[in-house]
Subunit: 226 residues, 2 copies
């Protein structure tokens, strides 16, 4: 799932570093506002600066990292405006994915979706938020996978990359409720009801994301010290 982007891409060291940083972003290992230094990363990874620079420039391009000034590369902060825009885009695109997934899903794929939800339930019971967060994301991407839309997968991966640091920050607050909204999605997919699946995903994004939005608005009123 994590290599959604360049599955067919020629593999070089730069790509490896890129995926490494992607995972770090998605898993919330890099906090908003945190600064990255090319030389430091290169030393840590045991490569020269070239592949690290390749990777970082790629992430800057897709705005998963921000270059505030010429020597200041940071994990960007999400703004309320940006979040609302991304939310609107996600509803359209993940709605499309869910709709196609409902049309396409075979019995085995449905079982896999159910298994993801089951594991997520377990993770919540265990109080393992990191795993719950990961499984939540995997559910969303499993839909795109079933939809059979590789190009869409790339777009959505880049979008999730932006939300990674934020979600990891907030998930603990009310992430447990997020799973509730996956059951209607599952039901719609089982019924092969595309429009219902799209509506259910929309509900998930809107309601599940409510916690995130509140967190952001709170942070806007009292801006965090970075």
């Amino acid at each position: 799932m994590t290599d959604a982007l360049d599955t067919l891409e020629h593999d070089n060291l730069g790509s490896t570093v890129y995926h490494l940083l992607c995972n770090a972003l998605i898993q919330g290992k890099l906090k908003p506002g945190e600064r990255l230094k090319i030389r430091e990363l290169a030393a840590r990874l045991g490569t020269s600066v070239t592949p690290v620079r390749d990777a970082i420039l790629r992430l800057v391009q897709e705005q998963a990292l921000a270059m505030k000034s010429a020597r200041d590369i940071r994990v960007p902060h999400m703004t309320v405006e940006r979040y609302l825009e991304i939310r609107a885009i996600r509803i359209k695109l993940e709605g499309l994915a869910a709709e196609m997934a409902a049309q396409n899903a075979d019995a085995e794929q449905i079982v896999q979706l159910e298994e993801l939800v089951r594991q997520n339930e377990q993770a919540i019971a265990d109080g393992d938020t990191a795993r719950g967060c990961d499984l939540n994301q995997r559910f969303h991407f499993a839909l795109v996978d079933i939809a059979g839309m590789p190009f869409l997968q790339g777009i959505l991966y880049r979008i999730w990359l932006q939300m990674g640091p934020l979600i990891a920050d907030v998930y603990g607050d009310g992430g447990d409720d997020m799973l509730d909204f996956h059951y209607p999605v599952l039901a719609a997919i089982r019924a092969h009801d595309g429009p219902a699946a799209a509506r259910a995903i929309s509900d998930d994004i809107l309601c599940g994301g409510q916690v995130i939005l509140q967190h952001l608005q709170a942070a806007t009123v009292a801006p965090p010290a970075v």
Copy 2:
């Protein structure tokens, strides 16, 4: 419009080369199947290979260029499958843009849209397909602009980057009819009717793209010698 991606991005030589290549792709100056060589480009542009490599890697990442093998960088061919997927995504995203544009557009912005259509009409009358193609694209991006969704603009720019070489190839065949579908969009925006604007853009993408699809399907039956 062409700098839709990294407006706030730190400017380095790599970015300059990147935008240069973007424009070349969108204007159809690079044909599908054409090979690019880093050293050759660097020599042509009078830079070292580093910035050119930066730019090309960025384009490869977003699949505007393809690395068939480790030393073989080419402008990719569009497939029917991929086109259909992109079309579905465009209908959702440009529909969203049109809807928001209809809500937001002020009098001045509507005049600018009308002006774009007028110029496009003129270009068709002059038989200037290159200019017609460019104005068609500018109309679509003007909508995103009015919608006030910069993140969406980046996504759509990347999508159009993929279609650039194809459209430039095909536009001459039946591109003149494309403009017809912009009038209903304009009418919906004037009426501030979001859903109607979304439907009109959907029609534009579906009907206007019919020529492109036929061209692609013909090419699939009798694959082009590249």
